[in-house]
């Protein structure tokens, strides 16, 4: 069963957090491109964090289930438990749409609260990310790290197949420009993408 799309629960210009209505097993993944289409300026961003836990932090989750019983079986046995849990996703805003054009950088306005967050289509990823301008936001945002960048690059490369090699060289050159004083970090990111 496909879970309902998460909704924005906290919003800033630099990014937003969204949450599913309950705990989901297969949320959006690190590095995936997501879009919030509602609002004056639809925002496109990259998933930089995924977190699941109890809805009420003051009521910690107890480790239920007998030995040898899987997590899915525990949730089936305790039918009401899933609703007491939440899965949240953190997103770094990398750009926005103004008319038909996707623009890299911070959006003029944050996303509306409770707006639905969708996965971006491959064509949208290609159009937005092929020039690698989004990398600047990911590299310098405190909510992102090298793993986020690596995962995002792999997503774009996948979307641009069979032209992924040219993209990776272009992305590498953009990263080299951005990380000019930190070649070790550049090497780490590229190694994560292709090895």
């Amino acid at each position: 069963m496909t879970a309902a799309a998460p909704r924005v629960i906290e919003s800033k210009l630099r990014g937003f957090s969204c949450a599913y209505s309950d705990y989901v097993d297969d949320p959006y993944q690190l590095g995936e491109f997501v879009v919030v289409r509602e609002g004056r300026f639809p925002v496109i961003g990259v998933v930089s964090a995924v977190e699941s836990g109890p809805e009420d932090p003051s009521r910690p989750l107890l480790p239920r289930g007998a030995p040898g019983v899987s997590a899915a079986e525990v949730l089936t046995i305790n039918a009401g438990m899933r609703e007491l849990l939440r899965t949240e996703v953190g997103v770094v805003a990398c750009g926005y749409f103004a008319g038909d054009r996707a623009r890299p950088g911070l959006p003029p306005l944050p996303t509306p609260l409770l707006a639905e967050v969708e996965l971006a289509a491959s064509s949208e990823i290609g159009a937005f990310a092929s020039d690698c301008a989004f990398l600047e936001r990911l590299i310098f945002d405190s909510g992102s790290n090298d793993s986020t960048v690596t995962a995002a690059l792999r997503r774009v490369a996948l979307a641009l197949k069979p032209g992924e090699n040219d993209f990776l060289v272009g992305a590498g050159k953009e990263l080299a420009r951005l990380l000019r004083a930190d070649p070790a970090r550049l090497a780490t990111i590229l190694r994560g993408v292709v090895d």
């Binding site: 060289v169 080299a176 420009r177």
Partner: protein, 568 residues
């Protein structure tokens, strides 16, 4: 603006007029040393310069401190590809030489620089045409590097206005280029309206390259005589040499002490021995050499030495030396040196042959014909070569000097212009001999007496710097020695850059041309004019041969340009 169709190699990123312009080379381009490039200047002008250095630069020092790993792992390959032309890049040092401006024929020396990020293009035919436009007759000396169909022509008037030189180590192409220049000189001279307007050459042909066919690369090139049978007279030191028009014979009575002065090093004459030569010449006149070549002092010599005083019972050369105040070993040195010529049968004892032959040569030269003096079997004897070249040149230069002085006194017409071609020039004009040698004097006098030099040599560092500095145009083939390269560039503008260019020349048929006759230095692949091209194949007469250079080369007509014109 430069021609947008010429390949763009990068953009300007810095520089200065004195240090040159630095251009960042864009990906996929590999400029080579010596190539011409152009960049737009303000005011619609174009700067023309030469690539004089290529550097590998790091935009960020950290990128080379942490180089990408070696090996074939995908990430290593990607990292190398990513860093190339971003964190590290290739830069070209460009020495600026000329500014070109539309509608102005004479290019000006570079006095301004292109702006940052101005595009840098390889120069094309149009740029080279504009830079090397000559007002008069010119000789085609080759094509710029990477531009095989473009001609570089050197203005002949300017080439021989001052002395010129062809330098390079053995086998690089000096003789072929010299032959080509002389061929054009003779073809041009033939068309001169009067004899006095002709420029003639006196070639001291040490290795028999110019009068006879030049053997090269398994084939033969036509000699000057074959190409210009009515304009070249061949003399030989061998009386029975085939194909000669006359012989140069030297008698012992022809030699003057000044003729030996240049032989100090090559002939091992000491300064004291040369002093002794003057002493003997003063006492015994034209017989001085014959007297010294005798086994024992002659009666005449003894009578002259003691002149009325009591002659000792035993007179030998040692007592003669003592009597004349000459050190005995110096006299031995002088006699030993003179006996060399006798042994080699270069000079004829007791005779004076030279003046007649000399007069004939002078008349031939002033009559508008060039002269090749072949040395035949004497070509391997440097001392003989130097003696003959010095003797002839001294006397011919004297004749020209007198003719010029007389013409200026009488407001008349002076003699025609003479170019003396000498090989192994450093033996004549090294640091110790430059003041004794007639060639040093000719180089210093420039064209005052209508005589200039065309020097062919392998060791420019051995030539007196003052003489070298008087050489107007230099053709430089590959040189091995650092000191030779340094001597070549001397006080030339941008000498550091020129030094690098010379060091990069290939071992054959590549020459750097710079100096008086060319507007800027140029590296050319010299032309190989083989026998069937006919006489004067390298001559480019003033006004062209029926059209522009493009038409002469049978280039397709240019399409009308709608944008990006050369200027403005």
């Amino acid at each position: 603006m430069p021609d947008e169709r010429a390949p763009r190699i990068g953009v300007v990123i810095g520089g200065s007029l004195t240090r040159g312009v630095e251009a960042r080379v864009s990906s996929g381009n590999s400029p080579i040393l010596g190539q011409y490039v152009t960049a737009p200047l303000d005011g619609g002008k174009a700067l023309v310069g030469m690539v004089t250095d290529i550097m590998l630069q790091a935009g960020e020092p950290a990128s080379v401190a942490w180089p990408p790993p070696a090996g074939d792992r995908p990430s290593a390959r990607l990292l190398r590809e990513v860093l190339a032309d971003t964190a590290v890049y290739t830069a070209a040092q460009i020495t600026p030489y000329l500014e070109l401006e539309e509608g102005i024929l004479d290019p000006a020396r570079a006095r301004s620089l292109p702006r940052h990020f101005a595009p840098v293009h390889l120069a094309d035919q149009e740029i080279v045409d504009a830079a090397f436009t000559t007002g008069g007759d010119a000789v085609h000396v080759g094509s710029p590097l990477g531009m095989p169909r473009v001609e570089v022509c050197v203005d002949m008037e300017r080439l021989f206005e001052r002395s010129a030189a062809v330098f390079g180590k053995s086998g690089t192409g000096k003789t072929v280029l010299t032959l080509q220049i002389l061929d054009a000189l003779l073809a041009r001279s033939k068309n001169a309206p009067t004899q006095s307007e002709r420029t003639v050459a006196l070639v001291f042909d040490m290795h028999n390259d110019y009068g006879r066919n030049l053997k090269f690369g398994g084939g033969y090139r036509r000699s000057l005589r074959d190409s210009h049978p009515t304009d070249v007279t061949v003399y030989s030191l061998e009386s029975q040499a085939p194909g000669q028009d006359g012989s140069v014979e030297i008698g012992t009575r022809d030699i003057q002490p000044e003729d030996l002065a240049v032989l100090q090093t090559a002939g091992h004459f000491t300064l004291a021995a040369l002093e002794a030569a003057h002493e003997f010449h003063e006492r015994y006149g034209r017989d001085w050499v014959d007297e010294l070549l005798a086994r024992d002092p002659s009666e005449a010599l003894i009578a002259g030495a003691w002149s009325g005083a009591q002659v000792p019972d035993q007179v030998n050369w040692s007592t003669v030396a003592g009597r004349l105040g000459v050190h005995s070993s110096s006299l031995d040195n002088l006699r030993r040196g003179l006996r060399h010529f006798e042994r080699r049968k270069v000079v004829r004892s007791g005779s004076s042959q030279f003046e007649g032959g000399l007069e004939h040569i002078v008349k031939t030269l002033q009559g508008g014909k060039s002269v090749v003096v072949q040395f035949g079997r004497f070509g391997s004897d440097l001392v003989t070569y130097m003696l003959v070249a010095n003797m002839l040149s001294r006397r011919i230069w004297d004749r020209y000097r007198i003719a010029v002085d007389r013409a200026s006194e009488n407001d008349g017409q002076g003699p025609n212009r003479l170019v003396i071609v000498i090989e192994e020039a450093h033996k004549f004009v090294d640091r110790s001999l430059a003041n004794f040698s007639i060639f040093g004097q000719i180089a210093r006098e420039l064209r005052k007496y209508s005589v200039t030099l065309l020097v062919i040599d392998q060791r420019p560092s051995q030539i007196d710097p003052e003489v070298l500095s008087q050489i107007g145009t230099k053709f430089c083939f590959q040189l091995d020695s650092e000191s030779d390269v340094e001597a070549m560039v001397g006080g030339a503008m941008g000498r550091t850059a020129l030094r690098q260019v010379i060091s990069s020349l290939e071992s054959q048929q590549q020459s750097l041309v710079f100096g008086h006759a060319v507007p800027m230095p140029v590296v050319v692949r010299t032309v190989d004019f083989t026998g069937d091209r006919g006489a004067g194949a390298g001559l480019r007469p003033a006004g062209g041969q029926g059209g522009s250079l493009r038409e002469r080369l049978d280039y397709p007509a240019r399409e009308p340009r709608t944008e990006n014109p050369l200027f403005g």
